[in-house]
């Protein structure tokens, strides 16, 4: 008998929760393929380590962008391998709940459920990421009070107001921490004339990236390829210039939070001033983002205790109470 699964199919990472067991897999959403034969060479962490460092015949790709499937076939193969790794075989077909961004289209939704079914799931249902995040972050969403959750992922940022087990207001933008990495890559190329890879850009973000000035600021040395000479070169980056470089992305995220606040009914709005908003997702770990959102909205912002696992934890709770919570699935009648 297969144990049912909850999957947080993120643009950056994929997490799998197994019913009765907890989180059994947490790896980057990357797959490495042999370009000539199409064979899968590695998935997850092993494939992520190959990004930007592969010979011509290997390609390491992220099959999801902006929370949506960009390559159906590769995503299906990735899900199949993930399911195999957690013990799913052709004889044990589990029910699967998959977390997806609320902003994806009907076609994109169908692509995810079809990929999961073809990969070995007996039944595949979708749940909105902010709802799963609110459950996983342990917010009192069963009460008639305003709970606000901001989920900043690799490809999407979603803000939702939740009360009595349902979404009251929602705002989503297809902007996330990968856009911050891209902005850093572009800045270093434009201002310093050196090319850097996406993993280096991510390291810079983690080291000195910030949305607001912070007390512990330091410079960072970055190595890349000089665009003029083609030779390796080292430059020194400051937190101020990175802040300027990522400003467009950060302000776009903050603006979506403001729009969601504006959509909330007044009775729930007053709850936020007391209870605050909860930040989840890897993108929420950007230094100074919590302070920046709090400053611009005048509402306290708290970081979830499980920012990276909140979404899969919420979906895991739904799979544990599948029959009682099936009304939460996207497309289900409430």
């Amino acid at each position: 008998m297969a144990r049912d699964l909850a999957i947080d199919l993120g643009t950056a990472n994929t997490l799998v929760y197994m019913k009765g067991r907890g989180i059994v897999l947490n790896e980057p959403s990357v797959i490495a393929l042999n370009r000539q034969t199409g064979e899968v060479l590695a998935t997850g962490l092993a494939a992520w380590q190959m990004i930007g460092r592969t010979p011509g015949y290997i390609v390491a790709v992220r099959p999801l962008r902006g929370g949506a499937i960009t390559d159906f076939e590769i995503t299906e193969r990735m899900i199949r391998l993930l399911l195999q790794r957690v013990g799913v075989s052709r004889f044990t077909r589990p029910k699967v709940v998959i977390c997806v961004p609320s902003a994806i289209t009907e076609v994109e939704r169908r692509a995810v459920t079809d990929a999961a079914r073809r990969a070995g799931a007996a039944d595949a249902n979708l749940i909105e990421q902010p709802m799963a995040a609110a459950i996983g972050a342990d917010l009192p969403i069963d009460e008639p009070v305003g709970n606000m959750v901001i989920d900043i992922g690799g490809g999407t940022s979603e803000t939702a107001v939740i009360s009595l087990g349902g979404i009251v207001a929602l705002e989503a933008v297809r902007v996330g921490s990968f856009d911050i990495d891209n902005a850093i890559q572009n800045h270093v190329r434009r201002e310093h004339g050196i090319a850097i890879g996406e993993r280096t850009a991510e390291e810079i973000k983690k080291k000195i990236g910030s949305a607001d000035p912070t007390p512990d600021e330091a410079q960072a040395e970055v190595r890349g390829r000089d665009m003029m000479t083609g030779l390796p070169k080292t430059v020194l980056l400051t937190p101020e210039e990175i802040r300027v470089a990522i400003e467009d992305v950060v302000s776009s995220i903050v603006a979506s939070v403001v729009r969601c606040l504006a959509k909330a009914p007044p009775e729930l709005s007053q709850d936020f001033l007391v209870r605050g908003m909860y930040l989840v997702g890897g993108g929420g770990l950007l230094r100074g983002l919590k302070q920046r959102i709090a400053r611009e909205t005048q509402v306290p912002v708290k970081m979830s205790t499980v920012p990276l696992e909140a979404v899969v934890l919420g979906a895991g709770h739904v799979i544990e109470h599948y029959d009682k919570l099936r009304g939460m699935f996207m497309g289900a009648r409430r």
Binding site: G22, K206, L308
Partner: protein, 73 residues
């Protein structure tokens, strides 16, 4: 005699099954009961086992491997 008992027991089991299914169906159709079950399943008490299970797993993982993953999700 034995055959009658077996048949009687089988009929009782089938009847109990039908009654149970009817009760469940009625509970599912009742919107108030369905909403209450939905809300109850989201209560902190109902969520506690899920959260605890993950915390236990996390503590076990940290004990076995000191690395931490802070990659974006």
């Amino acid at each position: 005699m034995t055959t009658a008992l077996i048949i009687g027991a089988a009929v009782l089991i089938v009847l109990a099954g039908v009654l149970l299914a009817m009760r469940r169906r009625r509970a599912n159709l009742d919107p108030v009961a369905a909403f209450q079950r939905h809300i109850d399943a989201l209560s902190p008490q109902a969520r506690r086992p899920t959260v605890n299970r993950v915390q236990e797993l996390d503590e076990g993982r940290r004990g076995a491997d000191p690395r931490t993953d802070d990659d974006g999700a």
